[in-house]
Structures are given as C-alpha cells and as structure tokens.
C-alpha cells in the first residue's frame, strides 16, 4: 500500500502542482467581498430617511396616502363609510358574495371576513409607520426642531386616530406604541378605557407639538385643530362632557381658519372653509373615492344605495335631502344615492377632497356636551346653527334628554355615509338594539365586529374573540 502511495505521488506531480494552482486562484478570488452587495437603488436605510426633511415628510405623508387607499376610513367600498353604512341603517347592499357589502348589510359577518382582516392589518400597518416616524424623528440629528415637532405631532395624531377607530369597531384592542415586533406579536387586548386614555395622552402631546396653521395648502396635513377635533370626539364618546365642550370650542373659536358656510353645495368642495382635515387625492384631477363608490346613474344600483329608512327620516324642506342625495329611476323603481360629493370621475382639476373632519361635527359635539351638562340654551344654539343651514327651523326639543335625542337625529341627517358616524352614535347612546334590532341578521352582540380570525390564530395571546363570533 505504501508503495502504491509513493508511486501515486511520483506519477502525479503535474496534478499536485495544478491542484495547488487552483487552490491559489481560489484564495485570490475568495475575498468575501464578492458576495457583498450594495444597497438596492430603490431603497433607503431607515436612518437616512429621517436625516432629510423631504424624505421624512414623504414617510409621514405616505401614511395619509395609505389611509386614503386602504385605511379604516378610506372612501372605497372597503372603508367604514360604506361598511358601517350597510351595517347600520344608511345603506342597502345590491352586490352579493362574502367579499362584498352584503354580509355587512345582513349583519352576519364572520371572523374570517377578508375585509375585516385587511382593515385591521392596514390600521396596524399605519400605526407601525407612525411609530417608525416617531422613532426616526427622535433619533434624527439633521432635522430642524420645528420639523421634528410637526412630524412627531402628526405621527401621534395618526396613531391616536387609528386606535380610536379600532377601539370603536372591535372593542378592547392592543395599543401599539413601539416598532418592536417581538412585543407586538404577543400583544394582548387592552381595556377600552385604557385604550382611550392612551389615545387622549397621544392627542394632548400632538396638540402641543402641532402648529396652529396648516403646513400645506388645502388642509391635507393635520394641524393643532385637527388633533383637537379628534380629541373633542373622544371626550364626547367617553362622556367627558366639559372636556368635549371645551375642546370643540377650541376648534370653533379659531375663526380665522374656520368660517361657517351656509351653502350646502360648498361644504364638500376642496376649498370649503368648514373643513378641518381632508385627504389629498391620488393625483391631480382625481376626485373622491366616496363619489366613485356611492354615485350611480341607472338602476338597479351596482353596489349600494341609500335606505328608504334614511330617506324617509328627512323632514320636508330639509335642504340636505335635495342637495346631498339624488334619486335614480328606471321608470318603475327609484333608488337614492349619497350626493355629498358630486364628482364620480376625474375632472381637469380636482374639485373635491375626501373630508375627514369638518366644522359641523364640532358644533354638534358641543351641543351634545352642553345639553348633557344642562346648558340647554348653548346646546340649542349649536344645534340650530346646523338646522338653519339645512333650511330647517329651530328645534322643538326642550329638555336635556329630548335635545340629546334631537342631536342624534340631526347627526344622522348631517353625517350619513361619513365614516360610520351613525353606527357609533347608536352604539355610544345604547340605541343599537332599538333602532336596528329589526334587521334580520341582527344580534345584540353585533355591536362589536369580530377580531380577524387569522389574527387570533397567529397570536395566541389576543384571546378572547368578541362574543357572538
């Protein structure tokens, strides 16, 4: 055997030499740098994003674009303007199938509903992006102080806004204030009160950080009053009447920015002076998703129409019926659609933006808060402001409870198809069963939507599911 090895080495000198050559080549080329790649040209590191005002703002305003396209309050069919409209008594669904408005209209949604999981996921995705902005701004060296305040204020506002809707739709939900996925992946449900406390805390900081004036044209980025408007609504929903009244006043008193307009046809135009915050369209010339979704020109309607219950609740002479709804008929049947936004398609220049907060709500918040505190005169004054604009006379309600009822009724006619206001009003005043209990699929437990089934499956700590699902 030894002999064989000896012969082997002797015979194969060339081979051994070549092997040595290949090994040498290998070592020369083997520098690890061959497999190092540059950062891809379409990506920026997270830290770099927050060292320039332009990119930091692009990170922030993208969240508004996400809200516009996929958020809970998107004007598309998947937003609560449509879904909650169907779920309560504003809209009737003509489309069918489980990925449509139909199960919402039937009040028979299931935990597996894809619209619900995408709503949940996109809300938390926007919350993640907001938290990333907060982190990025906090760690930024180059950003100016004023820009940092503006951006952080906006991010806190967005975080609060999303949690506000989540807690109203789903009940107890996790409040996510970090980008740490390990903590967030085992998030547990926080009580509604705790969530509200955190929303309030975020909004207070946001109000401090945000400037009085808008930083951009057309009121498309939140200012101080936007955060105040949301906080006023939060106080209203939580029954903190004096805080609600004060916060609404803080907005209403800002008369240099917000001017009441008696012409109903102006309210939903992009220049409206009663708008507090609106979303810029996807591109110049595009109008609102709401207009696209709700307006139809022939019947039967392709997707949804206003319910007869809603149409018959307008009293004679209510200008909102003639200005904000429209009848479509095929000769035999008549259907109505929301006509707050007039443009269904693109126009040369955009005329309408999707409005999220507007002044009328602040009047009605203050009216209700005043009534609850016994300030009946102040309450009626605010309520009548809205009624007059709608061409109606003063309210006939005379005691606190009647005034509150009148306000809720007024809110229905004022805010129909606007981000589920109707459903949330019925819910917070305990009137769901009484008002929509006659719908066939309705159960008392339907006041909360189910947590997405997929979410419960991947996070064992999120239990329990809401009752009834």
């Amino acid at each position: 055997m030894n002999q064989e090895i000896y012969i082997f080495v002797k015979r194969n000198k060339t081979m051994l030499f070549s092997a040595w050559l290949v090994a040498l080549c290998g070592i020369l080329f083997s520098c690890d740098s061959f497999v190092d790649t540059d950062q891809p040209n379409s990506q920026l590191t997270s830290s770099a994003v927050f060292e320039s005002k332009a990119t930091a703002e692009a990170a922030m305003t993208d969240i508004y674009a996400q809200i516009r396209e996929n958020g809970i309050i998107t004007g598309k069919l998947s937003g609560i303007g449509n879904l909650m409209g169907n779920y309560s008594d504003e809209l009737i669904a003509y489309e069918t199938g489980s990925y449509s408005s139909e199960p919402f209209y039937n009040n028979s949604i299931l935990a597996s509903n894809a619209l619900i999981s995408s709503m949940w996921n996109s809300a938390y995705n926007q919350i993640y992006a907001a938290n990333a902005v907060i982190n990025g701004v906090d760690n930024s060296i180059a950003l100016a102080v004023a820009d940092k305040s503006q951006l952080k204020g906006e991010a806190l506002f967005v975080r609060a806004l999303n949690h506000f809707y989540l807690v109203n739709i789903f009940g107890d939900v996790p409040y996510v204030a970090t980008t740490d996925y390990k903590a967030n992946s085992v998030a547990t449900r926080m009580t509604t009160i705790e969530v509200y406390n955190k929303v309030i805390a975020d909004l207070k900081v946001a109000i401090d950080l945000l400037p009085q004036d808008y930083v951009s044209a057309n009121r498309v980025r939140p200012n101080k009053a936007t955060a105040q408007a949301l906080l006023a609504r939060v106080y209203l929903y939580t029954g903190a009447w004096s805080e609600a009244s004060n916060m609404a006043s803080a907005v209403l008193n800002n008369e240099s920015l917000y001017v009441w307009d008696e012409n109903l046809d102006n309210i939903f135009l992009k220049e409206s002076t009663t708008t507090i915050w609106q979303l810029a369209p996807a591109y110049e010339g595009h109008n609102t998703e709401e207009g696209m979704v709700f307006i139809f020109s022939s019947g039967p309607p392709p997707t949804v129409a206003l319910t007869n219950e809603l149409m018959s609740s307008f009293t004679a002479g209510d200008l909102r019926k003639s200005h904000w709804t429209l009848a479509v008929t095929d000769g035999t049947d008549t259907w109505y659609h929301a006509f707050k936004y007039k443009e269904k398609t693109d126009t040369g220049a955009t005329t309408e933006y999707s409005i999220i907060f507007r002044l009328a709500e602040q009047y009605l918040i203050r009216a209700e808060a005043r009534a609850q505190q016994g300030d009946l005169i102040g309450a009626k004054e605010d309520l009548n402001k809205i009624r007059h604009t709608a061409g109606l006379t003063d309210t006939s309600a005379d005691n606190a409870s009647d005034i509150v009822d009148a306000i809720i009724k007024e809110r229905r006619l004022e805010f129909f198809t606007e981000h589920g206001q109707r459903f949330f009003d019925l819910k917070r005043t305990g009137k769901l069963d009484a008002v929509i209990g006659n719908k066939l699929g309705w159960n008392s437990s339907d006041s909360l939507w189910p947590l997405p089934q997929s979410e419960l499956q991947v996070n064992p700590y999120l239990k329990p599911q809401n009752p009834g699902y």
């Binding site: 070549s18 990170a59 996925y181 066939l440």
Partner: protein, 975 residues
C-alpha cells in the same frame, strides 16, 4: 487480385434485427479517425481494407466485432445489451459517473420517454415516472405552473421548497417572474421550465440524496434537476421534422344543481330565514329572471376544446471532430374558455461540439432561445362557472350583444374583455471548455449566461362593465409588469483521474462565481382616451409606477469531490462545498456543506459469482451529508424604506419595507440514504430499493406575524426540525425479449413520511394552529364534525377545550395530512416490428379538501353541487347537509365555514390515472425510400379512477381549471 492493403468502399446496413439503427458508431479496429455513423436508414459507408475488422457499437447494444473478410457489403445485426445500461454514464452535475458505480441517488428520464408525451412542460412528462418525485399540475390553463417536491417538503416556508434547476450547467433561477396583479389567471408562480422545449431535452436527471446534492451545497436541499439538451451526432446530416395536432378538454366536471334543484334550495333558504318577500337583489327568485331557464355553466364556460399544434425541425450531423445540432420549434395552444385566446411558444436550440485532433482540447456550446406569448382572459372562469345560478340569463341578446338583463347580473363573458397577456423571452447559453493538461488531468471551465425578459399586463377596459353605467374609456385601466433578469456564471474546475494497482482515484476541485441581476418595474395606469390605446401608457391620464427596483444576487462557492474505487468493488465518494450568498447579512454569508457516500458492488465478489449465478448485479450503497437552502429573496436583512407607489400632494410616499432581522442564517438539511440495487437473470429484472431520511433544521422562515406588528411576516430562523423519510422502489423487468416482440415493464413506488421532530415553543408561537410535534408539516388542524343538530339543522363540532363555544384557535385539533401517503407509476412498453405501444398508470394515495371547502353557504345566490340537495329542512330531519340560508343566518354561515375547515370537508382523493398512452408506428423502409416516417398517437390524462368528491383529484388549487385530457396525433419524418 486486390492487394490486401488497398482501400475499398465498404457499405452496409445496421439493424436490431428488425429496424435500421441510426447513429451507430462504426470504426475500424486499430485505426484512428476511421469512425463513421449510420444514417437514418441504418446505412453507412467507409473505406477499409479487406482484412480490417469493424467495431460496431451503439448504446443499449452489445458491441459487434465484424471482420470484413474481403466483403464489400457488410450488414450488421446488433444484439440488444441490457447489462450495458449499467455502463451508461449518468450526469451528476459537475461530473459523470457510470450507472453501476454511482454512490448517490439519481433518477433519470430520457428523450425516449419525453417524446411520447404531448406536453409543454417537461415536468408534466415526469409525473408518475420517477420514484420520490411528486409533481402536481397547478392549472389546466396554458403556460401554467407545476409544483414539484423531491422527497417531500423540507421547509416550513411554502415558497422554499423548489429544487435547483440546472440547464447544461447553468443554474436557472426559479425565483418568480410573475406579479399577482398581472398574473390573475394562473395560480401560483409560473414555472421556469415552461421556457424549455421538452423535445430539446436529451436527458433529465434528478439528484436526490446527500451524496449527489452536497456538491451543490446551499442550493441542494430540495434536490437538483439537471437538464442536458440534445447534441449533434457525427455522421450523415439528418433532418427531422415532427408535427402534431392535439385537442384538450377538461377531465372532470363537478356535478352541480340544475335550475329546479337550485330554485328549490333558494326558496327553502328564504323560508328558513323567515323571509317572505324576496329581496330586491334576489333576481333569481324574485321574478326578474326566467325561472325555467337552464344553462350548464361549466359546459358553457369551461367546456370548450383547446387546440394544440406543434411543429419542430431538427438538423444534426458533423464529423468526429465537430458536431452540431440545430432545432427550431413552434407551438400554439388555445384554451377551453370561450373566446379566442392563444398561448404561443417558439424557440431555437443550437448545440456545437468540437474537439481537437489530439483530443486534448474540447469545447462545447449549447444555446437555447424561447419566446412565449400568452394571451388569456383576465380571470379563470372555472370558479365562476360553478357559482352562477343555473337560471341566470342568456349570454347574448337578440342583437348578438352581451346581455346584461337590465343590470341584474355581471355577464360572465364580460370577463373576456379583460386580458391577461404575457410575453417571455428567454436565452440560456453555456460553453464548456476542457483541456487535457496531462494524462488523467483535465482543466475545464464552464461559462454560462441567461437572459430573461418578461412583459406581463392585465387590462380592465371599460367594455367589461355594464353599458348602462355609462363607463367610458376613462374607466379603463391596466397593470403592467416588466422584468429583466440576467445572470452569468463561471465555474473553473480541475479533474484528475488516476489508477494505480487496484485503486482508482477521481478528484475534482472547482469554484463558482455567479451574479444575477433582476430589474422589475410595475406600473398601473388608468383613464385612456380610447380603449384601443390601453397598452400605450402615455395615453393614460393617470400613471403610477408602483415599483421600480433592481435586485442583485451574488453567489460564490468552492467545491470538491474525492472518489476512490478499490478493486472495482469498493467505492468511496466524498464531496464538499463552501458557499457564500449575498442573501444573508454580514457575518452570516458563508457556510460549509459536505457528504460522504460509499458503494459496494458485491456481485463482483468471487463468492457471489460462484454461488449465486442468477444474480447479475448487486450493489449496496449509502450516503450521509448536509445541504442548505437560501431561497429567501434578496436584501431581507436590510432595514429600509422604499417608495410605496402612492402619491400625496404630488409627493411619492416612502414606506417601511419590512420588519427586519439582520441575524438570520442558512437553513441546513441533513440527508441519510441507504439503497440496495439488484439485477437478476442477466439484468432482465432490476430492482432498486432506497431508504432515506432527511432532516431540515434551523428552519429559515417568513415567520407569520399578527397584524399588530404592522406586517404579516419576518425572516427568521426557527429552532424546528422537520424530518422526511421514505422508501423508494423501482423495478424494471424485461418480460419478453424476442427478435420481433419486446415487452418491458417499469414500476416505481414511493412511500413518504414527513414529521415535525421538534419545535421548542410551538405552543406560544404563531404556528400553534398549524403544526403538531410528531405530525407532518403538511397537516391541517381541523374541527371535528359531529353531524347536524336535528333541531336547528346546523352543523355541530366537537368542543375540544370544553368552553362551550367553537373557536378556530382552540377547537381545531383533528389532524389530517395532505401529503400523499404513497405514489408511483406503472409503465409498460410493447414493441412489435415497427409498432410501439406505451402506457403509464399513475397512482396516488392521498387526502384532499372536497367541494365543501370552496362552495360557501348553501342557499345564497350561487349554485351548489347537486349533492347538497340532501339538506336539513325541518326538525327531526336526518340530512347530510345543514339548513340553507339566504345569507342572514349567521350561526349557520359560521357553521358552514367551520365545516369547510373540518374533517368532513376532507375526503379521500386517491386516484389511479391512465396518465399516458402512446402508440407509434415506424413505416417500413420499403414504403418510403427517401425518408423514414413515424406516425404516433398520444394521449394524456385519459381516464381516472377515483372516489373523490370534487373535480380533479390530482389538483390542489381549488377553483382553478384542472389539467386537461389531451389527445394528440403526430408525424415524424427523418431524411
């Protein structure tokens, strides 16, 4: 008298006793450069002296030694040599090895089997023919994909189980090229092998065990598919033309309710819900639609016949030094949907080989170019065809226009207005240069290049919408996806072979440098001035670039092989590889892989030779080693923002791209194998039994995350181990071997088991509801159906945790496994004179979800399988299916969803399918003097024996078009 040294022209014919043999090598013993080969008639011509001796050799036949003995015409009849199959060299990627001496597990399919099948994708031709390789077709739509698993599912990541594809030495990326918005008709990813014309393939090998795959290191974990394209043969230039015409139809339809059954269900549903006035949108029952109309929508929408035309021409020839092959092919396939849709594929393939006179320098080039154009409707109509109410209105009105029945339905044919188009151009070229440096030492290097470009679009023109809505072309929109991918690879290698004493050594050292660059751009545009300008994005009033990125993937490796054979009986094979991949973060890029394999050819032992005479072959082999997996996508370790594709105030938004984890690393896969190969009765019976066990650990997964994290997934390593083990048996017998009649049978059987060995922390992880330790990773956790509550008529389920309610998170504890228990194929071949008949049965033992998983709640505005008529109507009913609801009985709807995820929705989907029949006839030479003609009839998916409650049992993608039954007739001319 002639001088004995005078050169004479010798000619003759080589046959196998019946038919002429083409491409047979004829040389003169002891004379260099004397080799010629026989032409398509089996004829040859060469110059020799009267005393020379001819050596006539051909693969699969015994070499004949024929003295010329002064003759001018020397006809040779070759004897088929079964044993010699053991001498065939098998491609193992970086090296080849004699079939008898291989230490690894390699399965092979050759052009002989491929060309009998009328398929577009080579993977379809492999179904049922290879042990351990499970292939399912994902759609019957042309250009669609296949799912391939070699020895089971190793990775918890669903997109991490693709094998490595290598075409003539060039790795061919299986990274997806499609984008969900522009690939709406084809489920999953389109398979990269669609770019390879099956008839250009000479051999396809699948490397399965560690011994064979470890040399591919990080990319070998899921097996390696090696494709070798056809090469030219020296000799007379031959031309071959193949042409065929085939038709395709759906194999099985689902038995749906007719109008009477359907309307009865609907009326009952409303009655059950307490609704007496039918809602205004219930057009099917409220009187808006004709209640007597009936349309079989499956027949109407998917019952067409697909036409498949194919044509191929090949020229091949050359001298002993230089050989060439050039082929071109063209194929068109239409769909079973209504409307004119066509899949077109054309390509060219060139192979050149040259060797120097001294044989010391060899170069070979192989290049293939394929163009595919696919024109499909924007959606697969299959699901729609099963959902439409049977009394839905007519498709066309009296004027021949699409009928919208006063806006009460979405005419299904409106879907044909939207188009899903794609064009893919693909070039794969490789060059291999070999220098013989000294005796036994070779330096070689391969250079490969691939260039793929793809353009896909999906349009939604305004003509898709009901004209009553007055939508003009300002509503038309398009999604467009443009992709370009180039890669190059250089692989210098050194081979050394030496024999001394009774020892033989083979050593291979090599390295790889690979770079792949992918550019993608995704655009969305809407608002066109005219629908005919929809493909011109400059005419769009709105154009958004959703993403525009360039991804770079770099890969580097060093590998080696040491093979030692002692006394022709004992073989040891060591392979190893060190790999670096840019897909991992700094410090995690490199990893080592290696394997040891050994074989013992015991039939060569004297004591066997002397005592066990019926044993003609016997080998015991085994291997153990590690391989890896880096199929995770690029740049996943970076914390970055990228453009979201949305604008706000004219500014393009930036969004966080992902949750990032800089610390993930290689997934490792340990493979163990032992096999026993036996040949009996002069190898007329060959039996291989292989047992394997693969364990995958440090699982690299896209960890599913709850939405509260802001994302749905993060790349991360899991401390989980998955084991695949199984038994593979292949048996080949030559039942009858007569001069004019042959009958051979091949059988393969794979029994596979998958098991999650360990998963620390499973209970608290997102995988809690997906996996169970000790069970396969292909399971689903399901509710246990306990029947119907006779009082309420609603499905009931076992309340596992006893909390009084049924929940997805806690009550799905019934486990069903969806990977096949065993599968295989039985292939028989008969040849009689010029006739050849082949048929292949494929069988699979498995479970699958049945129609209950896709049909939704019975009673709503959509059709149901006929079986659902047997449903509960009143208390006391003992029905199989629950109470109907029109869509308001939430409890029943919820139960229906639970039912769809219960053991009742799973049924046996085992099947035996006559996968392929091929009958061909070689026209006798006398009939056509100038050419050789072969006629063939082929069919695929002919019939299926199954008890499956659904459409096609092979098929896993519910709601898409199942694979088609294809019947084809073809001609081949060679001259």
């Amino acid at each position: 008298m002639q001088s004995p040294h005078q050169q004479n022209q010798i000619n003759g014919t080589v046959t196998d006793g019946t038919n002429p043999l083409t491409g047979v090598t004829i040389s003169i013993k002891g004379k260099r450069n004397s080799t010629v080969s026989s032409d398509f008639n089996g004829q040859y011509i060469l110059s020799a002296t009267a005393t020379d001796t001819l050596l006539v050799s051909f693969i699969g036949f015994k070499t004949a030694i024929v003295p010329i003995s002064g003759r001018k015409i020397v006809n040779v009849q070759l004897q088929e040599d079964i044993t010699s199959l053991q001498e065939v060299r098998v491609n193992a990627g970086y090296y080849t090895v004699k079939e008898s001496e291989r230490t690894g597990s390699i399965a092979k399919i050759s052009s002989k089997d491929i060309e009998k099948q009328p398929v577009t994708n080579i993977l379809a031709a492999m179904q049922g023919r290879m042990a351990g390789v499970s292939i399912t077709q994902e759609t019957g739509v042309p250009g669609g994909g296949f799912n391939i698993n070699i020895r089971g599912v190793n990775s918890l990541r669903t997109d991490g189980n693709a094998p490595l594809y290598i075409i003539d030495g060039v790795p061919y990326s299986s990274d997806p090229i499609s984008y969900r918005q522009t690939s709406t008709t084809i489920p999953g990813e389109s398979n990269p092998l669609n770019s390879i014309n099956p008839s250009d393939i000479e051999n396809l090998e699948i490397l399965k065990d560690a011994d064979a795959t470890a040399i591919y290191g990080s990319r070998g974990a899921n097996g390696v598919v090696l494709i070798t394209t056809k090469k030219g043969k020296a000799g007379v230039t031959s031309f071959t033309i193949n042409t065929s015409h085939a038709t395709g139809t759906v194999t099985r339809m689902l038995d749906m309710m007719n109008t009477q059954q359907y309307l009865k269900m609907r009326r009952q549903a409303f009655a059950n819900d307490g609704i007496t006035t039918y809602p205004s949108n219930a057009y099917d029952v409220n009187g808006r639609w004709d209640q007597n109309r009936y349309t079989d929508w499956q027949k109407e929408l998917t019952g067409g016949t697909a036409d498949i035309l194919s044509m191929q021409g090949t020229v091949s020839g050359g001298s002993e030094q230089t050989r060439f092959l050039l082929s071109g092919n063209y194929r068109t396939e239409s769909t079973v949907f209504p409307g004119d849709f066509l899949y077109k594929k054309g390509g060219a393939h060139l192979s050149l080989d040259h060797k120097s006179e001294s044989n010391k320098f060899r170069i070979s080039f192989s290049g293939g170019y394929t163009a595919q154009k696919n024109d499909l409707p924007w959606t697969d109509l299959t699901l729609l065809s099963r959902n439409l109410a049977p009394n839905a209105p007519a498709l066309y009105d009296a004027q021949g226009n699409l009928n919208w029945e006063n806006s009460t339905w979405q005419n299904p044919l409106s879907n044909l207005e939207g188009k899903n188009r794609s064009e893919t151009y693909d070039l794969v070229a490789s060059t291999l240069m070999t220098f013989q440096l000294a005796k036994g030492i070779e330096f070689k290097s391969s250079f490969g290049f691939t260039d793929l470009s793809s353009d896909a679009s999906r349009t939604a023109p305004s003509t898709m919408y009901n004209p009553a809505y007055n939508y003009g072309s300002e509503y038309s929109s398009i999604f467009k996806n443009t992709l370009g991918r180039q890669s190059w690879i250089v692989e210098p290698q050194l081979n050394w072979h030496s024999a001394f004493g009774r020892s033989e050594i083979d050593v291979l050292l090599g390295s790889t440098f690979q770079n792949q660059q992918t550019k993608t751009r995704i655009e969305e545009a809407s608002g066109f001035t005219s629908n005919s300008l929809i493909y011109d994005l400059t005419s769009a009033s709105y154009l958004s670039v959703e993403s525009d990125e360039m991804l770079v993937y770099k890969y580097q490796a060093f590998y080696g092989r040491f093979n030692y054979t002692f006394s022709n009986k004992y073989i040891l094979n060591l392979t190893g590889r060190r790999d670096g991949s840019s897909r991992f973060g700094p410090g995690k890029q490199f990893a080592n892989f290696g394997a040891i394999g050994a074989a013992w050819l015991f039939y060569r032992e004297k004591w066997i030779e002397n005592n066990v005479s019926f044993l003609s072959f016997g080998k015991l082999r085994g291997s153990y080693g590690t391989t890896g997996n880096d199929q995770i996508g690029d740049y996943q370790f970076l914390d970055t923002y990228s453009s979201s594709g949305y604008e706000y105030q004219g500014v393009h938004g930036l969004q966080p791209l992902r949750l990032y984890n800089p610390n993930f690393g290689w997934e490792t896969n340990k493979k163990l194998e032992a096999a026993f190969e036996l040949g009996f009765l002069k190898d007329r019976v060959m039996l291989t039994t292989a047992w394997y066990q693969n364990r995958s650990s440090n699982q690299l997964v896209g960890l599913p995350l709850p939405g509260t994290t802001g994302f749905t997934t993060i790349q991360s390593n899991l401390d989980a181990t998955v084991q695949n083990n199984g038994l593979e048996i292949t048996l080949r017998t030559i039942n009858i071997q007569k001069p004019n009649f042959n009958w051979t049978t091949s059988f393969n059987l794979s029994v596979a088991k998958n098991k999650l060995l360990s998963f620390p922390g499973l209970e608290g992880s997102p995988y809690k509801n997906d996996y169970v330790i000790g069970q396969p990773i292909t399971i689903r956790k399901l509710f246990h159906s306990t029947g119907i509550n006779p009082q309420t008529g609603i499905y009931e389920f076992a309340d596992i945790n006893g909390d009084g309610q049924i929940s997805y998170a806690d009550d799905r504890e019934t486990v069903r496994n969806f990977s096949p228990k065993y599968f295989g194929g039985l292939h028989n071949q008969f040849t009689y004179k010029g006739w050849q008949l082949d048929f292949l049965f494929q069988f699979v033992k498995q479970l699958n979800f049945n129609f209950a998983s896709t049909q939704g709640y019975a009673g709503t505005f959509r059709n149901q399988p006929a079986e659902i008529v047997n449903s509960w109507t009143q208390p006391g009913d003992n029905a199989q299916y629950q109470i109907y609801t029109s869509g308001v009985n939430q409890e029943a709807m919820q139960a229906s969803e639970y039912y769809a995820e219960s053991d009742a929705a799973v049924s046996d989907a085992s099947y035996i399918r006559l996968k392929n029949i091929s009958l061909s006839y070689d026209l006798p030479q006398e009939w056509l003097k100038i050419m050789h003609c072969k006629i063939s009839l082929q069919a695929q998916n002919i019939f299926t024996i199954t008890s499956y409650k659904g459409a096609d049992p092979e098929f896993r993608e519910a709601g898409f078009l199942p694979p088609l039954r294809i019947v084809s007739a073809g001609f081949q001319f060679t001259f």
